[in-house]
């Protein structure tokens, strides 16, 4: 009989006010567990089963055993005689980039040009960009925009566009094939219900959701929870939405995200690099969930995205996301808001 229970290092317990989770960073899932099990798995991690039984006065041997069997059956952990061979995973998070993602909005009245934005971001080696069209651009305009990315440092482009009957799946697949950086296309405001297509590692989504303004963003729901090593470790130290993000709103103003009120100047007036280096611009990057009210007591805090644009109490910038319906103190979801 092996004496120690060991969690796989990629399965990390996170304690909330009334219950805890095990976040599985390799399988992108989580498991809800009672806080007492959290205690066993963390405070008594290096004790043998016998020792753990004794901690609880041998009153709950069966229950504890059952918990462990459950965790083994779900492959969250295993029994071993040499637990010291299995160190914890480092929770450091590092990036070589000053900006890791950009979000650029356009509506029909927009006057800012992608041709002035793309070279500036490429010079900063920004790897990911999301182009969000609240309307339906023409195919020609789209192609012209995508051409701008040839020979740039970008690795991934995400496209959000309004529906047009011209945007057939075949047409869009052709776009994905022609532009290797283009990773996925979301077509919003479709007349039909939603369709998800996977083309190798790329994707096309047709959704009847109307993404016609930046206010569509900031939703909090288990649907958006992400449990992987890079987002989980980033969230330990930084804001899970805004860290190293740059946004340009539909009027061309540079912001932490297009939904924020505060802007750092207009794209026609100030170089992006100057904004990125501004310490005031970087301030929100460091607001992790441990600083946000309510979230700091929530068992989902490292797998949940944050939102600093729409907050529950506009007078307190550290209040929790306005669109969150979860109450960590009662472990209860209120009715979901629909946007």
């Amino acid at each position: 009989m092996k004496n120690y229970f060991v969690l796989f290092a990629c399965c990390i317990p996170v304690k909330g006010h009334s219950r805890s989770t095990i976040c599985d960073l390799q399988r992108n899932t989580f498991e809800l567990i009672p806080n007492i099990l959290y205690e066993i798995l963390t405070e008594h991690a290096h004790q043998s089963m016998q020792e753990i039984f004794a901690v609880y006065d041998n009153q709950y041997n069966e229950e504890i055993q059952e918990y462990m069997e459950f965790l083994v059956s779900k492959e969250y952990g295993f029994y071993s005689n040499s637990p010291l061979h299995f160190p914890k995973i480092s929770l450091d998070w590092q990036t070589p980039f000053s900006i890791t993602n950009a979000l650029i909005d356009f509506d029909e009245q927009s006057t800012h040009q992608l041709s002035t934005i793309v070279p500036q971001l490429s010079a900063l080696y920004c790897p990911t960009i999301e182009l969000r069209f609240f309307y339906t651009p023409t195919l020609t305009a789209l192609t012209e925009n995508l051409e701008l990315f040839e020979d740039t440092a970008f690795r991934c482009i995400q496209l959000i566009i309004g529906y047009h009957h011209d945007f057939s799946a075949e047409r869009l697949v052709k776009l994905l094939q022609k532009y290797p950086r283009l990773q996925n296309i979301t077509v919003h405001s479709t007349p039909v219900s939603s369709i998800n297509l996977k083309i190798r590692s790329k994707g096309i989504v047709f959704t009847n959701q109307k993404i016609t303004s930046e206010a569509c963003c900031g939703n909090i729901s288990p649907y958006y929870f992400t449990a992987n090593i890079s987002t989980f470790t980033e969230a330990q130290h930084f804001n899970s939405c805004l860290n190293r993000k740059i946004g340009i709103d539909k009027r061309g103003y540079i912001k932490n995200c297009p939904s924020m009120n505060k802007n750092f100047g207009h794209i026609d007036d100030i170089p992006l690099k100057q904004v990125v280096e501004n310490v005031h611009f970087q301030k929100l990057w460091k607001v992790n969930k441990d600083q946000v009210l309510d979230c700091q007591d929530c068992e989902f805090r490292y797998i949940c995205y944050d939102c600093r644009a729409y907050v529950a109490n506009p007078n307190n910038e550290l209040s929790k996301p306005a669109k969150c319906q979860y109450n960590p103190y009662e472990a209860r979801w209120e009715d979901q808001v629909t946007t």
Binding site: F8, A9, C10, Q26, R27, E75, F78, L84, H85, F86, P87, K88, I89, S90, L91, D92, Q94, P96, F97, Y125, I229, T233
Partner: protein, 327 residues
């Protein structure tokens, strides 16, 4: 300046370069198909290099990272001419190309090298021999070409079979087949002809888990792979199970083992590489093989080791430390 010899599209190279940029350290990336697909000249006496008509001051280069060779078959040149050339000509051109790239490396013979083209491919059998000499337990290993021999061996212990050279993908009619480690059950052995192509056969070790260890100049970055939960990957973790991926977690190596592995890497004259080990049900560590220029992303990510950053830092240190080469 750091010289990086790689191939086009190699992601690991891109990710190390991200860090070199971040640290503001100069580098030159040379995808070795450059000599086939761009205008490129080098001179032996005095040493000089120019690419796309641009002279490169090679005295600036103090550290070289040999990531991998651009495959001849992936060059534009080969793709363009493959139809019109005789197989024999292709072979000759390939060897010309290989010799050229090896010769190019000698321009930098007195610089620091992280991995070296001459050490890029190791002989599996030789490595097992040396490992044995370093006091590392190694599964019993045979090269066999008759069914009767195989049948006799299988009476002593269960057997597995793997390639003697590096395993490769076989592309047949739009499908890609990977060579992998397979178990030789009595039924499988029964089905073989009396004589077959000489094959590497090893004693099958009942494993608790596998270790994949990235080694970088004296430092070990070990990862344990739990593949036993699903039978699909019991023998070879490369047979990946997408629905229920292996558990890959950081590992702590016992000091005795690292000392032996360190000795092995010294004997093999390798300063970087990936080592495969099986932890047996009998609690022994069995050495399997070492791969000098393998992908290390599969170790870096799950264990959060950030090996790209470490490699970049290592190269920068070496590039800054090395004495300027005499002119």
């Amino acid at each position: 300046m750091i010289l990086i010899l790689s191939m086009h599209g190699d992601l690991s190279t891109d990710l190390v370069i991200d860090w070199l940029r971040r640290y503001n350290h100069s580098f030159l990336r040379l995808d070795l198909t450059t000599f086939l697909d761009k205008s490129a000249t080098f001179s032996l006496f005095p040493p000089a290099l120019s690419i796309d008509e641009q002279a490169i001051d090679i005295h600036e280069i103090q550290a070289v990272w040999y990531r991998r060779t651009g495959a001849f078959s992936e060059s534009q040149y080969f793709k363009k001419h493959q139809e019109s050339l005789l197989p024999q000509t292709v072979r000759q051109l390939y060897l010309e190309y290989e010799t050229l790239t090896e010769g190019f490396a000698t321009l930098f013979h007195d610089r620091y090298w992280l991995n070296h083209p001459q050490k890029a491919s190791v002989n599996k059998l030789e490595v097992l021999n040396i490992a044995q000499q370093c006091d590392l337990p190694v599964p019993k290993t045979y090269v066999v070409n008759t069914q009767s021999q195989l049948a006799t061996l299988s009476k002593n212990h269960p057997l597995i079979c793997k390639s003697i050279y590096e395993p490769d993908f076989l592309d047949v009619a739009d499908k890609s087949y990977m060579m992998y480690t397979a178990e030789l059950t009595p039924e499988v052995i029964q089905s073989f002809p009396q004589r077959f192509y000489p094959s590497l056969v090893q004693q099958k070790i009942d494993k608790a888990y596998e270790l994949r260890i990235f080694y970088l100049e004296g430092q070990f970055y070990p990862m344990a792979i739990f593949s036993q939960q699903t039978t699909q990957t019991q023998l070879d973790f490369r047979q990946y199970n997408r629905n229920n991926p292996n558990r890959n977690v950081p590992y702590h190596l016992p000091q005795k083992l690292t000392a032996k592995l360190q000795l092995l890497m010294q004997r093999l004259d390798l300063n970087c590489g990936s080592i495969d080990i099986i932890k047996g049900m009998d609690d022994q560590y069995y050495f399997l093989e070492v791969n000098p220029v393998g992908q290390f992303g599969m170790t870096s990510k799950p264990c959060n080791y950030d090996l790209y950053q470490l490699i970049a830092q290592h190269l920068i240190t070496k590039d800054s430390l090395y004495e300027k080469a005499p002119y």
